[in-house]
C-alpha cells in the first residue's frame, strides 16, 4: 500500500479526503487505482489521451517522477505519492 496525498484544490473530487491508501506496483498503477475510486478526479489529472496534465506534478516521496522513470517508477509499500498542482493565489 502506498499513501497518496491529495492537495486542497482536488479534494472536492475525492470525497473531501486529504489522503488515500492504494495498491499498485508502479506510479501508473497507483494512479489508475486512484481514478477508479474517484472517477471525477480523472479529468482533473489526465488529458483525454491519458497523459498526466502538465500543470500537475507527481512526486514519489520528495522526487519528481519526471526525473525518475515517470509512470513506470516502482512504488514500494510505505511510499508516499504527492499530487502537486499549480496554484496561483496571492494578491486577491
Amino acid at each position: 500500500m502506498a499513501k497518496v496525498l491529495i492537495p486542497t484544490p482536488l479534494r472536492q473530487f475525492a470525497d473531501k479526503k486529504d489522503s488515500v491508501e492504494l495498491d499498485g506496483a508502479t506510479v501508473a498503477e497507483v494512479m489508475t487505482a486512484l481514478t477508479a475510486q474517484f472517477p471525477t478526479l480523472r479529468k482533473q489529472l489526465f488529458t483525454d489521451e491519458g497523459k498526466l496534465r502538465s500543470f500537475v506534478n507527481v512526486y514519489l516521496n520528495d522526487e519528481d517522477i519526471r526525473y525518475l522513470q515517470k509512470d513506470a517508477t516502482a512504488v514500494k509499500a510505505g511510499d508516499t505519492l504527492s499530487i502537486v498542482p499549480s496554484i496561483a493565489g496571492g494578491a486577491q
Binding site: 492537495p7 486542497t8 484544490p9 482533473q44 520528495d62 519526471r66 504527492s82 499549480s86 493565489g89
Partner: protein, 388 residues
C-alpha cells in the same frame, strides 16, 4: 548584488536596527547590504502585505510596489498593510503610507500599472530581486520569464484556501517556474482565491517565508530555498519539502531556450483577449438577474437551482432556489424535472455555467445560466442580499 557604493547608517538607524547589528549573521555589514538592496513586490495583496511591512522594518533600502487595484472591504481579513480607513483608496497609496510609517528610511517606488510584457523588463531591471505575490497565472509566467531573462532571483509564493507553496526560482543554477510547471491549467479548472476562499492568516505565513528568503539572499547567509519547494498545510500544521530540478529542456531557462523574449501571457494561459469579438459574445444560454426576477414575479414555471456549496447558501440565498452543489448534480439530477426550464446560479456565474453544460449533457433541453450570479442579483435586484 549591486554596484552602489556602501552607505553608512545614521544614529537613528543604528538604534532602530540594533537587534540586527548585534547578531554576527547580520551585523553592520549585513545591515548595509539590506540598505543597499532593492526589492520589487509584484502585488500588494495577501502576500505583498506582510512582505512590504517586514521588509521595510528590516531596513531594505528601496522597495518597488506594483499594483493597480483599490482596497476592498473583503481584502481586510488578510491584507494587513491596508486598514478599514483605506477602503476605496489605491492599494499603492495605502501600502506606501504603512511602509513609510513603519520605516521612513525606506525609499518607495510606486507603479500604478498591471505588469505586462511591455513594461515588465524595464520595471524589474531596477531591482536586485523580484518577489512574486500575484494572484493569476499570466502574471506568474510573466514574472518568471522576466527574472530568467534578467538573471534576477524570483522569490515565489502561492496560496490556496489553507495550503501554500514557496520556493526561489531563476537563480543561476536553480530551476524556474516553467521547470516546475511547463504550462498553466486551462482557465476555470483551478478556482481563484475569490472563488475558493483563503484562510486569512495563510498569506502571513507564506509571505514571511518569501521575506525570509529575500533577506537571506541579500545577506548571503543560510541555505536558500533554491531547488526545493516548500508545501505548507495550515490545517495539518505540516511543512513538507519536495526537490525541484532545472529542466535542461525548459523553454526559457533550459540549455537551448526557445523563449528568448517576452510573449503574450494571456494567450499562453488560454485567456480570452481583452479586445475582439470573443469577449463581447453573449452566450445564448445566459439570462440576466433582472429577467429572472421578472420570471419569478410573473410566476413562470421554471426551476431555479443554486449550485453553490451549503456553507455559501448559509451566507445568502435567493428565495425559491433549490440548492444542489455543482459536484452533486450528476448524482441528484433526478430531483429536477427535465421537461421544465432550469435556471442555474452560483456566486459569480462561473460554476453555474459548468452546471448548465453538465445538465445539457445529461439531456436537459432548456437550461440557462444566470449571469453574474448572486452578486449581480444583489447589485441589480435585491441590495439586502449581502455580498461576499
Amino acid at each position: 548584488m549591486n554596484t552602489e557604493p556602501p552607505v553608512s547608517l545614521s544614529k537613528e538607524e543604528i538604534l532602530r536596527y540594533s537587534r540586527h547589528l548585534i547578531m554576527p549573521e547580520v551585523g553592520m555589514e549585513g545591515q548595509l547590504k539590506l540598505k543597499n538592496a532593492s526589492i520589487l513586490l509584484v502585488g500588494t495583496g495577501g502576500l505583498g502585505a506582510p512582505l512590504g511591512m517586514y521588509l521595510a522594518a528590516a531596513g531594505i533600502g528601496r522597495i518597488g510596489l506594483v499594483d493597480f487595484d483599490v482596497v476592498d472591504a473583503s481584502n481586510l481579513h488578510r491584507q494587513v498593510i491596508h486598514g478599514t480607513k483605506d477602503i476605496g483608496r489605491k492599494k499603492l497609496d495605502s501600502a506606501a503610507d504603512t511602509i513609510a510609517d513603519i520605516n521612513p528610511n525606506v525609499k518607495i517606488d510606486k507603479y500604478d500599472v498591471l505588469l505586462t510584457s511591455e513594461n515588465a523588463m524595464e520595471i524589474c531591471a531596477n531591482y536586485d530581486l523580484i518577489i512574486d505575490g500575484t494572484d493569476n497565472f499570466p502574471t506568474r509566467y510573466l514574472v518568471n520569464d522576466v527574472c530568467v531573462l534578467l538573471k534576477k532571483p524570483n522569490v515565489y509564493g502561492s496560496i490556496f484556501r489553507f495550503e501554500g507553496q514557496a520556493t526561489v526560482f531563476a537563480t543561476e543554477d536553480g530551476p524556474c517556474y516553467r521547470c516546475l510547471y511547463p504550462e498553466p491549467p486551462p482557465p476555470g479548472l483551478v478556482p481563484s482565491c475569490a472563488e475558493g476562499g483563503v484562510l486569512g492568516i495563510l498569506p502571513g505565513v507564506v509571505g514571511l517565508i518569501q521575506a525570509t528568503e529575500a533577506i537571506k539572499l541579500i545577506l548571503g547567509v543560510g541555505e536558500p530555498l533554491i531547488g526545493r519547494l516548500v508545501l505548507y498545510d495550515a490545517l495539518a500544521m505540516r511543512f513538507r519539502e519536495l526537490k525541484l530540478r532545472r529542466n535542461p529542456e525548459c523553454p526559457v531557462c533550459g540549455d537551448n531556450p526557445t523563449v528568448t523574449q517576452l510573449i503574450d501571457y494571456e494567450q499562453f494561459c488560454g485567456l480570452p483577449q481583452h479586445e475582439g469579438p470573443a469577449a463581447a459574445e453573449v452566450n445564448e444560454g445566459d439570462v440576466d438577474p433582472l429577467d429572472v426576477k421578472a420570471m419569478l414575479d410573473r410566476g413562470d414555471d421554471f426551476i431555479l437551482v443554486d449550485v453553490r456549496e451549503p456553507h455559501e447558501y448559509l451566507i445568502c440565498s435567493i428565495p425559491t432556489a433549490t440548492l444542489i452543489p455543482l459536484g452533486e448534480i450528476a448524482k441528484r439530477v433526478n430531483e429536477l424535472d427535465s421537461s421544465k426550464l432550469v435556471v442555474a446560479h452560483c456566486k459569480m456565474g462561473g460554476r453555474s455555467a459548468k452546471a448548465v453544460a453538465q445538465l445539457k449533457e445529461l439531456g436537459f433541453k432548456r437550461v440557462r445560466n444566470m449571469t453574474g450570479g448572486i452578486l449581480a442579483w444583489s447589485d441589480k435586484v435585491d441590495p439586502t442580499v449581502p455580498k461576499y
